[in-house]
């Protein structure tokens, strides 16, 4: 495992970019959905919950196909995005990030929801007696107390994005430098009779990337755990 070839560098940095953008953009949305599912009661709740789980239940290629139908140039949203904002997702890294994000949503929502449901709500009313607005209570009490879940969501979402293949290739295909992430490069190599060494190299790169993410998250978890935990 010597230095990386320029091509490998491109795949690696693209994968990192796609995963980071996927997690960063979807995190706030996932938090909102998790909050809704944990705290609100509304008629269509079960449906929202089911919708969130959909990318987990359907085989990734189907999700990718649905994305193609919706976000392709001829898709409902795709055409609108392109007409109004001049944004194209198809065959672009942004499309790969969208696919990765969609596949990560169920995992992220669940982790965050678990943490929100574990919050001791009496602390929120205590904050209210101290004059804190709903926004301030959210930012200073609820959000920090839900942090373990948010962190778990980031780790799960990042790992899932790094590994996303089926939806991505179906939606945005394999365009070198644009949508050729690590799993797509790995898949291509697996199709070749003597691709196994390439598969191994790329797989090791994936593992190292996620190991890095895990180490960072463990450090953060430990930092959170210092406060807020019951001892004895």
């Amino acid at each position: 495992m010597a230095g990386l070839s320029p091509e490998e560098w491109i795949v690696l940095t693209l994968s990192l970019k796609v995963s980071l953008v996927a997690v960063t953009v979807s995190l706030p949305i996932c938090f909102c959905i998790a909050w809704m599912l944990a705290r609100w009661h509304f008629p269509g709740k079960l449906l929202v919950d089911a919708l969130v789980h959909l990318p987990l239940v359907l085989p990734p290629v189907v999700t990718g196909w649905l994305l193609l139908l919706l976000f392709g140039m001829n898709g409902l949203i795709g055409r609108w995005l392109s007409d109004v904002f001049g944004v194209t997702l198809l065959f672009r890294w942004t499309g790969a990030a969208l696919a990765a994000a969609i596949m990560a949503v169920p995992l992220m929502v669940r982790a965050i929801r678990l943490s929100i449901e574990a919050i001791d709500r009496r602390l929120e009313s205590a904050a209210a007696t101290l004059g804190a607005s709903r926004l301030r209570i959210f930012l200073t009490i609820s959000l920090p107390l839900a942090l373990p879940g948010v962190l778990a969501a980031v780790v799960l979402g990042f790992a899932r994005s790094l590994g996303e293949f089926g939806a991505t290739i179906t939606f945005v295909s394999d365009v070198p430098g644009e949508t050729r992430t690590l799993p797509i490069a790995i898949y291509a190599a697996m199709q070749m009779p003597d691709g196994e060494p390439i598969v191994t190299r790329f797989a090791i790169l994936s593992i190292l990337l996620s190991l890095g993410a895990l180490i960072v998250s463990e450090i953060l978890v430990r930092r959170i755990a210092r406060g807020g935990r019951h001892v004895i």
Partner: protein, 206 residues
């Protein structure tokens, strides 16, 4: 008038009622365990709502089922020491004390730290405090939020005699300096008398 409270609420099937109109700035609420003292404080703080009635403190209407007034908790400017403390576990003692602190404050931080004896705890996490230490921090947090009135739910239950006296002295002084109304739940009638409070007793209803 300091307190004009007339409320009714049903809890676990039993009614909890209080009627109390007084000019006394300090009202001690006594009564057997489970009678509804904490429930009353929660209503005055706006954490729960009475089924009917009104709550007027120091001339301000906080709740009135007739006119539909129901001020949000955050806008009632209450200093509430909870029976179960409710310190924020993810914030150090210093940040807990600072949480509700208002600029236009009547109290000096150093004074409060001194009479509560919690100056040495500022950098500690709540989970590492002893029972009485946590209780004192909770008192400090409420006092430092610059409240218009105080709700104290057995605030001295885990505090030793000497310190208790010191804190009662301090509360006495607060009252003298800026006469904010105080609603005080206690099982210790001596405590109530010592503060020359109006004693309101709640009874079990059948």
């Amino acid at each position: 008038m300091s307190f004009d409270i007339d409320v009714k609420q049903t809890r676990s099937g039993r009614p909890i009622t209080l009627f109390c109109r007084t000019d006394s700035p300090l009202v001690a609420l006594v009564g057997p365990s489970g009678v509804g003292k904490t429930s009353i404080l929660n209503m005055v703080a706006g954490i729960t709502s009475p089924d009917q009635g009104h709550i007027i403190v120091a001339g301000q209407t906080l709740f009135d089922s007739d006119t539909g007034i129901d001020l949000k908790t955050a806008r009632r400017q209450v200093g509430y020491v909870f029976q179960d403390r409710r310190l924020f576990p993810h914030l150090r003692v210093r940040a807990n004390l600072a949480y509700g602190r208002r600029a236009a404050m009547s109290m000096d931080m150093d004074d409060v730290l001194a009479f509560l004896g919690i100056g040495h705890l500022l950098d500690r996490w709540p989970h590492s405090l002893s029972g009485g230490e946590a209780q004192r921090v909770a008192i400090g947090r409420a006092l430092l939020s610059g409240p218009r009135f105080l709700l104290l739910d057995e605030p001295l239950s885990s505090i030793d005699r000497d310190r208790k006296a010191g804190i009662l002295d301090a509360i006495d002084q607060i009252r003298r300096r800026s006469p904010i109304p105080i609603l005080y739940v206690t099982h210790d009638v001596a405590e109530a008398e010592r503060l020359s409070a109006l004693i309101v007793t709640m009874h079990e209803e059948d």
